[in-house]
Amino acid sequence: MVIWIACIAVAYGATIAIFWPIMRDNSALLTQYMAVFPKGFLAAFGMEGSLADPGVFFATYVGSWLWPVLSAVAAVVLATRPVAVDLERGFLELALSTPFSRLRYLLTAVGVQAVAMAALAFVTVFGFTAAATVAGAPYDMARMLLVAVLAWAFGCAIAGVTSLLSVITLSRGVTAGIVTAVLLAMYLADIVSKMQPDLAGLDYLSAMHYFRAIPIVDEGTVPLAETSLFAVVAAAGWGLAVLLFRRRDLAA
């Protein structure tokens, strides 16, 4: 499933990336067209300038929606598998009736999530970047590496929280529902905060606020604080999931 998600990410990213020359050549026209939309609305979807700008181009087509959606789907698939799904299908009690302890079981699963999320983040970012570079877009690989690291941390944060929800609910369906609802609420908070200046504070509640690719791609800003924040959320989610998993009843 995660391989399929990676294929979708690469196929979509590469397809969009090769349209970069068209964006560059029609930049003025596109900017004129976009002017009909509220500025805040466009900003919420990464369109904080010309689509010919590499940072804006990436943020609009990958950073603002493709990666958050794909990473959330991957997180639900990966993080619910070892607990909720294996419990529902009856495999968990077989696995946990072996000398493999609960701690090792879930830590192994967390390791798999972290590695899979890293692979997915790098494939998504560099699949797009490679195609865009071939199409003539001036992307700096070192800066895109920083974007990939931030994307990885973002995905891990979702996976950490999803793991915790999976251990609490023991249900993939409920977990997926909560993750989807929270993600939509964050999008909404991001949009509302940008469109209503008096609600600007809502922005800080949204993970999207901390996943901004434009300053990294265009200015080379190192997203240390944002990456650390996501890493802390991921570690907290996974840590609490492990603690709870060791202590709770496990029965379908």
Binding site: E93, L94, T98, L250
Partner: protein, 313 residues
Amino acid sequence: MIETTDLTKAYGARRGIVDVSCRVADGEVFGFLGPNGSGKTTTIRTLLGLLRPTAGRATIFGLDCWRDAPAVHRRLAYLGSEPGFLGELTSGAQLTYLARLRRLEGDAWRRLAERLELDPRTQVRRLSRGNRQKIGVVAAFMGHEPLLVMDEPTTGLDPLMQREFLALIAEARSEGRTIFLSSHNLTEVERTCDRVGILREGRLVEVSTVAALLGEHWRSINLVLESPAPPRTFELPNVEVVALTGREAHLMVRGDINPLLQRIAGLTVRDIAIATPDVEDLFLRYYREPGTPDTGRTAPLAGAAAPTGEGVR
């Protein structure tokens, strides 16, 4: 080897098991008998450390089942009633994976799979329920752990495989391994177990040797009469009516049989069969609805076990 002391598990307000105390000795085959909802699976999951006891204690090899679960698991093999496997794997790959989790040789399963005619190349998701259960049987018996814990192990197995399973149990027993199995298959318990614990509504109502349960004290009498017996015909202190349907009566008699024969002498009997009862008779007796007088019908098993629908697996 296994010891539970006032073991209790509640699911919030729902009953699980209540004050279950029993002891299983080394090399013993112990059967846990009860209908669905009586608490068999809850007991086993508590022994496996999957559920934390609400009260009381369970130990295996002297180790606490919850706190020391991984250490306990090093020396046991488990088979559930409907084990879930990784559908995307072949049965061979699944067994290799389980063997590695149990620190066995990767191909420890091969000889047993051949014996049970399990095709290791078929994807698990394409297997029938019976064949999936075969994977579970192979997995349970592929090692040499001193304890086997099995929850309704023959569910889904065809009669031939059930026979093979009983043979495997006999071999394990001859090797001195201890077996704890739950079942509602009375024949299976009768054939395999040294002792039986009977669970009713989460409580262990009887622990006895199968021989004692089936022993000389009880006799089963099946009567076919010319016409239905008058009311209270079989009301005697040592007689229990297991079933009374029209002209047929199924009775259990403890001790002196003469008072009953004197009652029967006043009736026109078309047929009579007297036998030592099988486990099923005893089982029905334990699961008769509470408060039901001995003059009447037999309670339905599941309904008797969980009359309020509060039973658990």
